[in-house]
């Protein structure tokens, strides 16, 4: 027997947002990837591996970042990973069409002494912009391999893998570019570096001393904190402060601007001037430019926005109901009869009820009710993200979002909320400040997700009329805006502004979109199904133990008194906490009929639906909220929604009664 020992190479992918990093990642590792979170963080972590000859290459996809400062959690994660995990190779994915800004990160990676390979992606876009890049010369100047790539077509991937192995084996030697600042800054950096080496040896064993000095000069919060915690660090900081003041006096600018300006200077003077040539000005507007013009147009842009989102909902509902009926058919007609006849033969009655009524039905509910709507939603969302439409939507909505104390980026989580509140809640992390995250979390849980849509369309839409169902969405938007305005007044602090890149439009790439969609659906199924199954089992237990009536009786003052609903309707309302669509399913189950008109008036249907629409978020959403905001805030948000929903239900009941319905 022959044992194959594969050599293991650890590779990290680093790069700015929108450079096609995840496409390269997918191309490299294909289906082997595992998606999770960075430990203790809410930032997504994707890793995977590929086998290449005798090598097992582990690839980790670092979050997309513009710089290695401490503006966001992503930036800290990326640089800490490079420093502490010490990957064998760092592949810096670079957008050839925006080389200047991309190299800004590259310089900082050099300063971290990362063993770099440059993947010069989007060569086709650069070419269409009339840019010619002397790849060989760029590689010579930077002292590391530069691989030209067009990742969406797979071009350059093989070469990249081969280069990774060559560098790992020492067949290609790296002699990384030395970043040298202007005389004044350089002087200070080397003095601080010497002192840091002498007095803070422990820190220097982890980070390059030169890097520490630059970060100290840049007033990097994270490094300042690390140094100030050390006994000798305080003295170093005094010196640094003095240097900063001196430099600011000489240059007449803040130290951040001085160092950034010098970096850009190095990029332009020492690198780009030698390797990037403008062959011809792009005379004809590219398709991307024209799309950009119309989708950000002050009138047409909004029309397109409305059309796009109308189209999305249409697609989700049409696609969703098709998938739902298909899956329904498969389970109801094909699987269930066989399973139940098999199990009823072997199991005694109460156990059969629990297993079939609870466990199996719960599992089927996941597949037939949630999945059909979540799948098309994520599919569309991935297309919007990959093409670059999202920033345009954020741009158009920024002014309106500001009214409720948020900015344009908040539009994305709010839209996500219509699919599922769980990713919406997790998506709140894209907001920069704590205040905005909190405010946005409040709002996203009020957005009717696809599960609540099942209730809205399944009750009001079906029995009263589709137009009334859609009207409820409008009511919902008004309530959300109102709550937003209110919270913006109440919460301390002031709103933060928007700073965001507007990337070019890109042609979506089917494989990347499918992978992304599947990754998200997978993680949703993972998180939600256990809750649904457990809830379903508890439910059938309560059923078997004849507890339905006593529980309903306890809640009757609220349910029939305030809301004017049938007493029995309180129970599904509570169980809606597990999964929103359970509210409808249970209502039908409890009434023993799928025609609600026999048991509820139109008024009661409307009140029930409105209450469900705003009622406490489902367990999975609460869990996501706890993860993002902590127990205290999650509880506060949940309690708030309970009060709000009962108030609105009561208000609907009262006003409909008053007008004589």
């Amino acid at each position: 027997m022959v044992y194959m020992f594969r050599k293991r190479i650890n590779v990290a992918l680093a790069g700015q947002p929108n450079v096609g990093k995840s496409v390269i990642f997918n191309n490299l590792v294909g289906g082997s990837q595992i998606v999770g979170n960075w430990p203790g963080k809410t930032v997504e972590k994707a890793e995977g591996k590929l086998i290449y000859g005798d090598y097992e290459i582990n690839v980790i996809d670092l979050p997309g970042i513009y710089s290695l400062s401490t503006y966001s959690e992503e930036e800290i994660i990326a640089r800490e990973y490079i420093v502490s995990a010490k990957p064998d190779i760092v592949v810096n994915v670079v957008d050839a069409s925006v080389l200047e800004r991309n190299l800004y990160l590259t310089l900082q990676l050099f300063e971290l002494n990362a063993p770099l390979i440059i993947a010069l992606n989007l060569m086709d876009v650069a070419q269409s912009k009339g840019l010619r890049i002397d790849v060989e010369k760029l590689s010579r100047i930077l002292g590391v391999p530069v691989i030209p790539m067009i990742a969406v077509t797979g071009s350059g991937i093989d070469k990249l893998v081969k280069t990774i192995v060559d560098v790992f084996e020492g067949r290609i030697r790296l002699s990384p570019f030395k970043v040298r600042y202007g005389r004044e800054v350089e002087e200070k950096v080397s003095i601080i570096a010497k002192i840091v080496e002498r007095y803070l040896p422990n820190l220097c064993s982890k980070y390059p001393s030169r890097w520490i000095s630059i970060k100290l000069l840049e007033r990097d919060d994270h490094v300042l904190r690390m140094v100030s915690e050390l006994y000798e660090g305080k003295v170093v900081l005094l010196l640094v402060q003095e240097f900063i003041e001196e430099l600011e006096k000489i240059h007449g600018e803040s130290i951040t601007s001085i160092i950034s300006s010098e970096r850009y200077g190095i990029i332009n003077r020492d690198i780009l001037a030698n390797v990037q040539f403008i062959e011809k000005e792009a005379i004809r507007l590219s398709l991307s430019d024209r799309l950009n013009y119309w989708t950000t147009h002050p009138i047409i842009g909004y029309l397109i926005l409305v059309l796009v989102f109308f189209g999305i909902f249409y697609f989700i509902f049409i696609g969703g109901s098709f998938l739902e009926s298909l899956l329904d058919y498969i389970f109801d007609e094909v699987f269930m009869p066989q399973i139940s006849s098999l199990l009823s033969y072997h199991l005694p009655e109460p156990l059969y009820g629990i297993i079939v009524g609870g466990l199996i039905n719960g599992f089927i509910a996941v597949l037939t009710i949630s999945l059909p709507y979540i799948l098309p939603f994520y599919f569309i969302l991935s297309i919007l993200e990959d093409t670059g439409y999202m920033p345009r939507a954020a741009y158009l909505m920024d002014a309106f979002m500001h009214r409720i104390g948020l900015h344009g980026k908040a539009f994305l989580p709010l839209m996500l909320g219509y699919g599922c509140n769980v990713p919406a809640c997790l998506g709140c992390r894209i907001m920069e400040s704590d205040r905005e995250k909190f405010l946005l979390s409040f709002l996203v849980v009020l957005i009717p997700c696809s599960a609540r849509t099942v209730v809205i369309l399944g009750i009001v839409g079906r029995y009263i009329g589709l137009i009334y169902g859609l009207l409820l969405y409008v009511v919902n938007i008004f309530v959300v805006i109102l709550i937003g305005l209110l919270l913006n007044k109440v919460l301390p602090g002031c709103p933060v502004g928007l700073i965001m890149e507007m990337p070019d439009y890109r042609k979506p790439f089917v494989k990347a979109i499918l992978i992304k969609t599947w990754r998200r659906v997978e993680s949703f199924l993972y998180e939600a199904s256990p809750l649904i199954v457990v809830g379903s089992v508890i439910l059938s237990l309560i059923y078997q133990l004849n507890l339905v009536e006593p529980i309903s009786y306890i809640m009757s003052p609220l349910i029939s008194g305030l809301l004017g609903l049938p007493i029995i309707a309180g129970f599904p309302l509570i169980f809606g906490i597990l999964r929103k669509e359970l509210a409808l399913i249970m209502l039908e189950e409890l009434f023993g009929s799928s025609d609600l008109r026999m048991f509820m008036t139109f008024k009661q249907m409307l009140v029930f639906t409105i209450t469900v629409m705003f009622f406490i978020p489902c367990v999975a959403t609460i869990a996501a909220c706890v993860r993002e905001e902590g127990w205290k805030r999650a509880t506060l948000i949940s309690l708030f929604t309970v009060i709000l929903s009962i108030f609105l239900g009561w208000l609907t009941n009262l006003s409909l009664t008053l007008i004589g319905l």
């Binding site: 925006v98 951040t256 309106f400």
Partner: protein, 207 residues
């Protein structure tokens, strides 16, 4: 002398400001130079300088500012920025000197960090402060040179990470509808900046 004393007082800050910016950019100010730059008759400049000398704002022959004169100019710059750029008008008497810091803090919600960075900028800025105007004044298609952003270190670092460093040329591509954000082209790519931040970014308009 036939000059209106009120006018002399009013022109004092402009002239001292000019002396200050000349000194910073390494030019030895003379009455002729000042007169040419501001298109004010030399005799009038002389009159203003006499008053400044009396008040101890400048010293002797080489037209250099005293400590008090420096403070006077910095205060003028602050007030100017404040009035023109924040309130959109320019009226020096509006705010008496010395309370600008408090005013910025309590009436405009700027924190100490922001005010200090503004002061920092003002004391080092070697151009004529009157050329600065907020980015929000520019219309789509107009270009400007980024001078300064008022804000904490976080915002400054973010802007410079995104390529917006002092002295860089930018073009306004779109001034957001309904009070929305600005789209700028900087270093060959586009960034979106919310109106709130855009109004705190000062640029020198390019003709």
């Amino acid at each position: 002398m036939g000059y209106d004393m009120d006018l002399v007082e009013r022109l004092m800050p402009k002239i001292l400001e000019t002396i200050y910016s000349m000194t910073l950019s390494g030019i030895q100010p003379t009455i002729d130079l000042i007169s040419k730059k501001l298109s004010i008759p030399p005799l009038f400049v002389n009159e203003v300088l006499k008053l400044a000398l009396n008040k101890g704002l400048i010293s002797g022959d080489n037209l250099s500012l005293t400590e008090a004169g420096r403070d006077f100019v910095l205060n003028y710059r602050q007030t100017f920025i404040h009035d023109k750029l924040i309130h959109g008008k320019y009226d020096l008497e509006n705010i008496s000197s010395g309370v600008v810091h408090e005013h910025l803090k309590y009436s405009h919600g700027l924190d100490d960090d922001e005010i200090n960075s503004l002061k920092d900028f003002l004391s080092k800025f070697d151009g004529n402060v009157e050329e600065a105007e907020p980015l929000t004044n520019l219309r789509p298609g107009e270009r400007g040179v980024f001078m300064y952003a008022m804000g904490g270190y976080g915002i400054l670092r973010r802007l410079s990470d995104m390529g917006l460093t002092p002295g860089i040329e930018l073009e306004v591509l779109s001034a957001g509808p309904f009070g929305g954000p600005f789209i700028l082209r900087v270093r060959g790519y586009e960034i979106v900046i919310g109106r709130g931040i855009a109004s705190r970014i000062y640029v020198k308009r390019l003709k």
